[in-house]
Each structure stands twice: as C-alpha cells, then as structure tokens.
Amino acid sequence: MHAIDTPRSEIKTTTCYMCACRCGIRVHLKDGTIRYIDGNPDHPLNKGVICAKGASGIMKQNSPARLTRPLRRRSGAARGAGDFEPISWDEAFSILEERLRKIRASDPRKFAFFTGRDQMQALTGLFARQFGTPNYAAHGGFCSVNMAAGMIYTIGGSFWEFGGPDLDRAKLFVMVGTAEDHHSNPLKIAISKFKRAGGRFISVNPVRTGYSAIADEWIPIRPGTDGALLMALCSELLRLDLCDREFLAQYTNAGFLVNVDAASNEEGLIVCEKAADQKNPFRRHDQLWWDRGSNRAVVNHSAGAEPALEGEYRLDDGTPVKPAFQLLRERLEECTPEWAAEITGIAPEKIRALARELGATARNASFELPIPWTDSWGRKHATVRGNPVAFHAMRGIAAHSNGFQAVRALSILMSLLGTIDRPGGFRHKAPFPRGTPPVYARIPNGPEAVQPNAPLAGAPLGFPAGPEDLFIDAGGAAVRIDKAFSWEYPLAVHGMMHNVIANAWRGDPYRIDTLLIFMANMAWNSSMNTAEARRMLNDKDESGEYKIPFLAVCDAFESETTAFADLVLPDTTYLERHDVMSLLDRPVSEFDGPMDSVRVPVVPPTGDCRPFQDVLVELAGRLEFPIFVNKDGSRKFKNYADFIVNFETEPGSGQGFLMGWRGKDGDKVLVGEPNPGQWEKYAQNNCVFHHPMPESMQYMRNWNQEYHEWAQRMKLRRHPDPIMIQIYAEVLQRFRLAAKGRGPSARRPPPQLRARIETYFDPLPFFYLPLESQFTDTRRFPLAAITQRPMAMYHSWDSQNAWLRQIHTHNYLFVNPGVARAQHIADGGWIEVESQWGKLRCMARYSEAVEPGTVWTWNAIGKAQAAWRLAADANEFTKGFILNHVISDRLPDGTSNSDPITGQAGWYDVRVRISAA
C-alpha cells in the first residue's frame, strides 16, 4: 500500500446542509483543508450516521460551479447568456442599496424577495417585513404547502420539522405519497428499528422506490386520488365502528353543534354560548355540545356532560343543529370502497382490508403509558393512551390541486383512530402544536399596511381565519404580487413563488422593479412552465426595458437562474458560515422537546463569497431598517453572528433565534437575555441544544395544561388554550358563507370566484379531480406524469457534485412495460412525452414498480446546457430532462394551476401521452 497520510487531524463539528435534514457532522481537517466528513455520533438527530449527500459534502465544497465573486451582467449581454463582469462587494452593495432605497421610499411593493431551499426564513421574512414589502415567501407554496396547511388547520401541527410518526411505539406504519423525506436520516433510523421490531409497514404510492421498497405491502394508487382512498377508509372506520369515540368527543370538535339552518346568516358555523369567552381573543372555546344525559345544549366540556356525536337537535331558539361528526358521517356515506376503487384503481376488498387493519390495530393493540397529565379542563389523567398506528405523508398527496382536502382527509383519518400526539401515532415537535389555525403571525389585511419607508404592518405570511384576514384592497384585489391571501388563494400560507415571475411579467396585479432570489432555481426546476418563465425573464417592454427590470440572485453555485441575473451575489457553502436552525423557523426539534442547532464556519469563505445572512444584515443596516439601527441611527449589528446573539423578538423579550445557553451566564433555556458567549457554547456542544421536557408534557399537547402554561411562558404559544382538532373546519365555512353573500364578514368574493369558493371551501373533506384533469381530455392524455427525488439527490441540488452525479447522471421516464409495449416503445428507447401544454424528448425505462396509469422520473437531474459548470455535452443536458417543460402554471380559465384553497402548485397533476420518438 501507498504510505499516504490518513485524513486524521483536527476535527470540527457543525451541521450538515446537503439537504433539509440537518444532521450533526464531524469535519476532519488537515492543515486547514477538509479531508473527510462523517456523522457526529454525539448528535441527537442522526446519532453518527450520514447519507450519500452528507458524505459527498467535500465535493460540493470543491465544485467548479462555485461562485466566488460578485458579478454584474455585462452591458448589452442578454439575460440567460451568463455573460458577466466581476465587481467588488462595495459596488454590489451600492447598486442594491441605491435601488432598494428608492423603492422603499416610493412603493415598497416593487421589491419582491423570494427564497428557495433555504432554512433561514425567520431572517429573510424579517428583512422583507422591515423593508415594508408584502412580496416575500419561500418555496413552500411550490413545494408542499398543502401538507403544512391541511394538517395545521386540522390538528395544529404537521409532518416534517413540526411532527411525525412515533415509530418507536407504532405497530402499523402507513406511508402515503412519500419517496424520501426532509427528516431523512432520523426516519431511516426509525423505519429500520420499526421493521426489526416486527412492525408492519404499508406504502401507498404509484411508484415503488425509496422507502416503499422495504414496505411489507405496496398499494399502488393513481396519482391525485389519495383523497378518495382516505375518505373511503374514514367511511369504513365509521361503518365498522372502529373509531376512538372518546378521543373524538373530548379532543376534537366532533361533538360541537353546527347550525344547519340553510337560511341562516350563520349557516354551517359552530354555535357558541352567547357570553364571550376571553381565554383567547382570536379563538372561542364556548362552543356547544348536545349533552346526552340532560338532553340539552351545554358549553363543551361542562362538568358531567357527554356530547352526542350523532343526531339532529333544536336549540331553545329553534335553531336546527347537528354535531359536526354527524355531518362527517353523512358526508362519508357515499364514500364507499367501490366508489374509491373506481377513482384510485385500488380494489374495494383491499380498501376494506386496509380500513379493518387500521381500525383493529389501533383498538386491539392500544396501550396505556403510566404518565400522569392534566388536560385543558383541569381533569387529571393517570395514563396516556396509545393507539399504535402511525402515518407519514408528503408531496404525493400534497402537490395536487386537490391536496388540501386530501390532507384534511388524512388528518381526520388519523384523528378517527385517536392517534394525535399520542404514543405510537403522530407526535408534535416544538414549536408545534399551534392553534387551528395559529395566530402567532398575523398578516395585514389591507393595502394601507404597505407604506413608504416603513415596515410592513404585519407578517408577510400567516394563517387567515376568515375573509377579514385576506390581504386585499377595498375592491377585493390582491395586495401581493403572487396573489397569496387573495380570494383566488385565501389560505396560501406559504405564498406562491410559482406565480411571481408570470405575474410580475404581466403586471398583474402590478409591475415590480426588483426581484431578489435566494437559492431558488426559478429559471429551471422551481417554476412550472420553465420555458415560458425563461422567456418572461428576458422579455422587454416597448421602451426596451426588461418587464422585470432588475433581477438579483444570490447562490453559492452557478445555476440556470444565476445566468439570468443582473447582479449575482456569491454565497458561501454551509461549511463556511454561521447559520441557525431556529425555533422561530424550522428547528430540528424532537418529539420529547425543543431542539435547535447551528452551523459554524469550519473553513474560511472561498474567494470573495459572503454568507447571504451577512449581506442581509449589512443591507438592513444601510437601509436603516428600524430594528437594525440604534436610536442615534448607528448600526445595531456588526454582522449575522452578532445579530443572532443580540436580536430579541421584542425589546427585552428574552426570546431570540437560539434557545440554548441564554442569559448573561448562559444558564437559561428558551427565554433569557442575550448571551454574548452563545455561539461558543453551541460550538463546544456539537452545535446543538436539546431540551427534553418532563414526560407529563410530551403527549396530548393539544390539550395538555402543564405543557400549554410552559409553552406560553417560553413564548412558543401566545395563549394557553386547548387546540381542538377540526373534524369540521369552520374556517373554510366562513369563506364559503361569504361566497354565498352571507356570514359575519362584510367581505365578499368577486362574482367570478364565488362558485369556486363555494365549491372548494367545504368545511368537510371531499374528493374532486385535480383541476388540470377537469380541463383535460383524459382519453387523449391518459397518463399521469409525476416526479420523485432520489435519496442520493434529495434536496441536495448537486448535479455539480462529482460523486453524486455519477449515481444519477441522467434520468429516464419510467413506464410500466405493458403500457410501453402497446406503444412500441423499447426499454431504453427515445420517446416523446406530450401534454396539452408542450412536448419533450427523453428515454424510456421499463418498470414493473409503477402503476400502469402513471409515468414518472427523477426530478431535477436534467440541466440546461452548460449550467452548473458541467460540460456542454454532459449527460444531464443531452439525456436528462425535467418534466416542468410539459407542466403549465396556468389553467385554460386563466387561474393558476394551483390548489384553489392554498395556492399549492399542482405540479403532480399533469396528464401526458407518450409515443416512440
């Protein structure tokens, strides 16, 4: 053997960022150079393991696509040509400062700031708010807002950072529409332990890859039909009486009485006691039950009362009412396994068997943990019950224009089984649970919130609870460029990144001046209709000015999007900077308590690149944003690291970005005055802070008094009130009533949207075909086309990574062999894929692991020619492709190809046909 020195020397710990999982890593350096990166065994998230991406971080650091100097588009060069001249940071800052200062002083809406795969939305959102623009969001609206919104509006938490399946105690695990996951290494650790312990794992997915490969049973399903399956499962659970009725009665709004007077101004609203309830000014808690004992209406959780879940009743004033659960029961009557089988392609017997297995496992394998706790109504419980059926779901359900209601159906299924924040079921992670919906971030509801030289009067993103919370003008028009929180997309809680370029180009609702993009590849795979987006970015008006006048892009790598920029800001890699995984944002909490973590630089920045956070803090200081300057006008924060330590959500609040080692002596947790030594403490402790809570606060947190009081003291929640599961989503009914010209709000949708709102804002889940299918001749375009991310590339954006690109150099379209042969398509042959929006050429690969009505490919492998510093004949360009080229951002009626409730991009909805090329 060669006597080569081993990569053993100095070890620094930090946090990985090859994907959204954020594992602890050990970076081994020799003479200051990175030689080896492995998992940190002392990190509670990944416990020493690492994934393909994490172990390839060294090649990201050394990528030839690294941007190392600020760049300005050369005068006369076209956008997209990637023809730049290097400039200094001083010049880059002056360009931005001058431009942004002018916009801020005149019309702050003309600055739009959209970010992609970052995890620093607490900072970027703060920047946008302090600037005063409403036009800010990350990529959630494109990615998976339906999962977040559908679950948060129903159970007060959602999968991924904010909750997940408790596989340590589950007996049955059902995964729907998931290939790989945000929480990837912890989920892998958990699934393997679960399987070894004899747990049964069922995967519902059109495609058998990733986790589905090791499922004990694979149930193939047609894309976009999950809602029908979930409704049928709920229906069967009711028919078999395999619901946890006590859970439903006590912890959900199943027993709340709904006004069913079709003529009433309050039709479909939940009836409350007349006296106002002051526990929470945003959410009442005096809804009525029909008490079975006294046979009359009483305030819910009155002593000795027991709610009727079924029946129809009349209140003393004559109002006809039904318990919410009765309405659900009526809704589910038609949702038989036979009905769902027609839609999903899953045999009725299979649906029946699955429902029975879910219900019987939840009931027969249930157990009690000897953990005393006290509920929101002061009742003491000696144990916590577990019904050991856990679910996990992702974009396969969410990224459809019917995804919100499908996710509602899943949340209700989980609730019928009594599995919310219980052992072996779904468990929350701090800062969740929050209200249904939460009130911590209030969005402004009118254009007066936007004023020159002033912060936005509210948070740019939040959770509307009714028409009064929409961000619209007096005429009902959207205030935001992406039309989030307008009547078109009322619950667009993550914004709508996929609308920005097209709306700004059209000037609908208005033109903007500057679009700042951070880490979002909006000229490629982060746009629907990629070719059009690229054309729009390069399009000029009659005066010869770009329709989107100024485009600034910050990224660490040359991408398809940086090529279009007027100004490129070179970001650092994750190994070269400070970062926080904050409780104000998307932390790395565990079920048992809050956890946050940091990155610290392990090597200096390459070339002249700078951490984007430092750039934001610098700009905020230059532009004199109120919270970034002292009273005398001087800068408050030196840089990002200084900002993180010293920023407080309110002066003196003691709440900041990091929860560990707060207080002057570093001995306070969650809340405490700033500690100048906080970074050092994190760096000395594996860059992570974990705060396990007492067991009595680890379960039933929607209704756990001790937890709520603690969470309020720790500023995780504003109000210590119970978070009732919304079997019946009254929030949706408020919009629906407005569409009917009734209800408590004076706001009414414009005439052309009334029918749409009345249809889709159904307070009970229902199934409808994805909007695109409603506009498509499905005989001409018989196949659903979807994408998945492979584990070795999931959220890693690493086609420029020499090792990872050898695993996935180009992608195929996977086709069921029977379907392919009928079209005379050879395995490996070139084919044409055509939707009603466009065509592309690619190579086919036979696969028995895909249901015959679906074709699919790995997403984001295909690249534009020479992008990411790959050779012009690189396989990613010559053979790779992205499906976005045959997806439309608009539907024939001119609306966005998005969920009509949340604005979630319907990028899994496209219908295609294929033929040999």
Partner: protein, 211 residues
C-alpha cells in the same frame, strides 16, 4: 481457513438504497491509505470513477407484485478467493490474520486477471492510477488505535442510516454477524462457485397482518 474472518453482513430487509455506504466509502478511501479513488470526466460526458462499493437496484416480479430491491455490493472477501491464485505478481492476497482480501498496489501491474476471475464483479480498475482496487474493509480504520474504539469500523458501516451493514468476525459464533446470519437466514451469493464469500446477505422478511 483463516482463524478470524472479518466480513460484512448486509440486511436487505432494511436497505432503502440511499447510497450512504457508496459515497462514505468513496470519501474515506479517497483520502485514506487506499486512495485516491480517481474520477474520469467528473463534470463532463459519461463521468466514471472508482468506487469500492456500489448499490444496484433491480425489480423482481410483475406489477402489482413487484419488489424493488436495493443491493449494495462490494468485495465479498471470499474464504477461497479466485482472484488471489490468478494474480501473476502476488499483488492480490488474502490476509491470514483476519481474512481480508487486499491488493498491494506496488505489485499490481493492472493485468485484470483478478477482475476476470471474480464472479461477483467486485473489483474496480482505477483508470488513472492503473491499479486494481477493491474494498479493504477499511483496514486503515479498523485497527487504528488513534481512533476512538467506536470509530474502528468500516466507513460504510458507520454511515448506514438503517444499520443495514453489520461488521464482524464470521468465524466467531458469538459475533453480531454470526448471530444475524444464524437467526435471520443469512445467505451467500452464488455458492455454486465455491468461493465461500465471507460477506453474506440477510433476506427480506414480510410482516403480515394477523388480525
């Protein structure tokens, strides 16, 4: 038969095909004593490179009774390795002390006889270094007393998020690998070649609903 025989036992019941073992192996060995593991055309057309460990994915059965199998494959450290006797220079050898099959790069002339003799396709010719390479079971980690004891394992074993890769002495009946083989139906690849691979695989096991 060597007294001690180190080996990997790979649990196909939990392998999700994430490739963590592939790149962590590449990463360690690229920088370690067996490296560098070169790449050809890394940012161009048809990139190729040396990997000691690869995951192959294949499908079994017809829709809807399809199994997708992720199959990590590296040198199996055969008890009777056919790659060793064919080597004209003695570069390819099996260690008496622990049964690891290694290549001495200084003796290797790159003739590829060993690759032809290996029925598993587990050897990789490094196109730049012009030497035959293969899995070393991280022999430069597992005996390194400067590493903490829990780190003295192959890089792939440390990395694997599903703990699908077990490492130990298959000649010690009490080792974690021997127990896994015994209790979970461990099997060898292509026993008919009589190479007696030290590495073994654990099969898929289905949990059925018994309600």
């Amino acid at each position: 038969m060597t007294k001690k025989q180190l080996a990997l036992v790979i649990d196909l019941n939990v392998c999700v095909g994430c490739h963590a073992c592939v790149t962590s192996c590449k990463e360690w060995n690229n920088a370690g004593e067996a490296g560098p593991l070169t790449d050809q055309n890394p940012y161009g057309k048809d990139p190729t490179g040396t990997f000691f460990n690869r995951v192959q994915t294949f499908e079994v059965g017809e829709f809807p009774h399809t199994e997708t199998v992720h199959f990590p494959k590296s040198c199996l450290h055969c008890e009777d390795p056919p790659c060793v006797p064919v080597c004209p220079t003695g570069a390819s050898y099996k260690r008496a002390e622990d049964g690891i099959v290694l290549v001495d790069y200084d003796k290797c002339i790159g003739c590829k006889y060993c690759a032809w003799a290996c029925p598993y396709g587990a050897r990789e010719m490094d196109q730049q270094e012009k030497v035959m390479t293969k899995c070393t079971l991280c022999v430069d980690r597992i005996y390194d007393e400067l590493l903490p004891p829990q780190d003295r394992q192959p890089a792939c074993v440390m990395a694997c998020p599903t703990n699908a890769r077990l490492f130990g002495d298959v000649h010690d009946p009490e080792s974690v690998v021997s127990k896994a083989i015994r209790e979970r139906g461990g099997y060898s690849l292509m026993p008919e070649w009589e190479t007696r691979p030290a590495n073994q695989y654990l099969p898929r096991r289905k949990a059925e609903y018994e309600g």
